[in-house]
């Protein structure tokens, strides 16, 4: 009997959650936005506190956002790193900090049983509002970061990414890698991190995401508790608009590797871009759909030139990169690049076929529910929707917007946005002489 009841409940839940992953939102009294989704079925919750404080806010101190973020859990309140880690692990909670291009965040996954939940929440709140930034921890974390940057030099793929973003973005804050460079990180002092924290980790710049089995009332209290001691501060200026490269560029970087890593692209689109859907669906056909995309077929299936060949748009607050990539044996790099160029030139000129578009729509719409079928995936979506202030019905309206895309709208958007003659191309590998 009891199990039958449970089944009925689960059934109703499934119906609800997928006709609408119902996002509720409100502002705290200090002006932070809160986004909340009640999911049932598991006694757990995912919580994020997000700031506009990613590497785009580094200024000239490339790497300061990321190092600031990683310092947070090394000491807070009266606790050192061991005590912090123990407090989370004692209650089976999982805590992490992170930083990407636009965003920096603290995230917590915890069980909802009050005693366990409260312990984890108080620990997170302390890290958020009272990190200690002590010199000893700073020296260690800085050394570890510097070692990581040295290790990065072993990777041809990482070298290619750095050169690619520089080619696309020049002096724009999107140009440098989030971990920075040895030369920039070496100059940091602990006060630089404290300053960064004080400027950006403030209520006016904060957003809270709560997805899990908490009631709305519990979610409200959670957000309030988390942010209660955070100063209001100010919202930072967002990164400036991106300038498009005026000319195409090809750059080869010599590297002792067996493969050449090829990246080619341009600044692409931003999160609220007018062309978002034609570009998204268009790219899905070009290189975004795994084993059935054009690039995969041309480069791997027909010619065996590479293991992976793909393309994607990474939408940021400003235009994020449109990036095509492959890796191939050094002596084949010119041939592979020629195939890549031919494929993108033809695609921009002709657009997809009607049949390709129908297949892409079927794939995107048919697999739509799988984009947020776990608590963690749903949390990522809600966080993205909240941070970029997209409409709350973004998920529900996604399929119909995909449906509205036509062959013509894809061709038009690609012709305006992806001009093959402007492509920035980086090849890192050993040149055959």
């Amino acid at each position: 009997m009891r199990s039958k009841l449970l089944l009925i409940c689960l059934f109703i839940f499934a119906q609800n959650s997928f006709s609408a992953a119902k996002i509720e939102t409100w502002n705290t009294d200090k002006g932070s936005r809160v986004y909340y989704v009640h999911t049932r079925g598991l006694p757990m919750v995912d919580i994020q506190v997000v700031f506009a404080a990613g590497s785009a806010y580094d200024g000239k101190q490339f790497g300061v956002s990321e190092l600031t973020s990683s310092m947070l859990e090394t000491g807070a309140g009266n606790w050192n790193a061991d005590e912090i880690a123990q407090r989370f692990e004692n209650v089976g909670a999982q805590f992490a900090v992170g930083s990407s291009v636009d965003r920096a965040w603290l995230s917590l996954r915890t069980l909802t049983k009050p005693e366990l939940f409260n312990e984890a929440l108080i620990t997170m709140q302390t890290i958020l509002t009272s990190p200690t930034f002590n010199q000893h921890d700073f020296d260690r974390e800085k050394n570890r970061t510097l070692a990581g940057l040295k290790h990065r030099e072993e990777s041809p793929g990482a070298q290619a990414s750095i050169a690619f973003n520089k080619a696309l973005y020049g002096d724009h804050p999107y140009a440098h890698p989030g971990t920075g460079f040895i030369e920039t990180v070496q100059k940091f002092g602990v006060e630089d991190l404290r300053n960064f924290y004080q400027q950006y980790y403030v209520a006016a710049n904060a957003m809270v995401v709560i997805v899990g089995d908490l009631t709305q009332q519990q979610a409200k209290e959670t957000a309030k508790t988390l942010l209660k001691d955070l100063p209001v501060g100010t919202t930072p200026e967002p990164p400036p608009p991106v300038l498009m490269p005026a000319k195409g560029k090809y750059q080869h970087i010599e590297f002792e590797s067996t493969q050449t890593h090829v990246l080619s692209g341009l600044p692409g689109m931003h999160r609220k871009d007018q062309d978002y859907f034609p570009l998204y669906v268009g790219n899905h056909i070009l290189g975004g759909s795994g084993l059935v995309s054009k690039l995969f077929k041309e480069i791997r299936e027909k010619r065996g030139l590479a293991y992976s060949a793909n393309s994607y748009f990474l939408p940021y607050y400003r235009k994020g990169p449109f990036r095509m990539s492959l890796q191939t044996r050094n002596d084949q790099a010119p041939k592979a690049l020629e195939v890549l160029n031919q494929t993108i030139r033809d695609y921009v000129k002709q657009g997809p076929t009607e049949q390709e578009l129908i297949a892409a729509k079927k794939n995107i719409k048919g697999g739509f529910v799988m984009r947020f079928d776990t608590n963690s995936k749903l949390t990522s979506y809600v966080s993205m929707i909240g941070f970029y202030q997209l409409p709350l019905d973004y998920l529900e309206t996604f399929p119909e917007k995909v449906d509205a895309v036509t062959v013509e709208s894809i061709r038009d958007a690609f012709q305006r946005r992806i001009k093959p003659e402007l492509l920035q191309t980086i090849a890192v590998g050993k040149s055959e002489k």
Binding site: L6, A14, L42, E89, R144, A147, K150, H252, E256
Partner: protein, 456 residues
Amino acid sequence: MKLQRFIILLLMFPVFSQAADVKVQERILNNGLKVLVKEDHRSPVVVTQVWYKVGSSYEPGGITGISHMLEHMMFKGTDKHPVGEFSRIIAENGGNENAFTGRDYTAYFQTLEKSRLPISFELEADRMRNLHLLESELVKELQVVTEERRMRTDDKPRAKLQEHFSAMAYLNSPYKNPVIGWPADIAAYTIKDLQQWYERWYAPNNATVVVVGDVVPKEVFKLAEKYFGPLKPSELDPVKPQTEVKQLGVKKMTIKLPAKLPYILMGYKVPVLTTAENEWEAYALEVLAGILDGGNSARLQSQLVRGQQIAVAAGAGYNLTTRLSNLFMLDATPAKGKTVQDMEVALKQQIDKLKTEKVTSEELARIKAQVLSGAIYERDSNFYQAMQLGMYETVGLGWQKVDEYVNKVNQITAEQVQQVASKYLIDDRLSIAYLDPQPMKKNQINKTMTGGRHAQ
């Protein structure tokens, strides 16, 4: 005291009382195919995984990596569905798909909206018995796999070290060979090799189909009968034991490669669930790995990276679900001014401490708390749940063992941890590889064309 209370609270979750637990349903078809179904109705989706009991540890010399090569060729068409069709059909139905090969398994998966389950069954059943292995496709796919090897191993100093390390640590166990295969073997595969490998291992009585998602088990079994039922079983020769011989002393090697940082990798030969004299030994080793590296509070982070600050990174790992005995691994990257020898001393001190002192009750409780909560978090992912069932079944443990994990770990005592440390983490079982970084050539930039920028 407080910690004990947290553990009690964790143990009270319904997920650990058998009554409320979602049961896995099993059905074995007449042709020997095992079908496992686990219901999860949180989302209208379904994961299908087809696991074959074959992987690199089944391969004789000369054709290492052939299981992985065959995995690639499984996307190259059948009589009914020519090359490209499989992926096209799955894509049109909104599915995600791919495959993976390990030492003990080759597995294929699709994730689909729940009503599309018959589509994946139809396609998987078809390629289980009717694969077309064409010379023209092999020629291209050989290139692809060679590129994959370059990307995963050849251009990564630590991956290469790992490969040489395994080849040294194991004397006769097939775990000495890389999953992707040695380069000379990859270059020499023939269609005949692949055909034989396919015919030998791809049969319903050597496979497990795992389905997790918003499904009704009875209906899944009916579908399985319809699509997989007609397939003929094979006569399977049992795989040879190839049990690793006893090691007679510590083994060491130095790997010289262009690199920027030194690195050390250590491994002790240890039993796993399938091979342990006493099953608890494997669970005790699992707890021991947690004591060293289970979270940010664990010993290696706390003592080597933070306390002594002699390593910029240090880790420990153990996988108890393999078919054959395995290695308990440790690795470290020295901090500036420290050497790999310093790392070796420090890691061995950590091991010695586990032998001479019992782990504290707090540490033990913390590991258990993480295991208990982890068991709930894992349920967030159908894919992960299916992975576990498929893995346990395929390495010979049986899927029923998945449910035992939490309780068995929970029963491990400090004395047992000490016992396995003393018994297994000894020099006569140890292998060590040091990465000795050689200078890297300075990167040169050759620009052929550059341009300015303008506002848009």
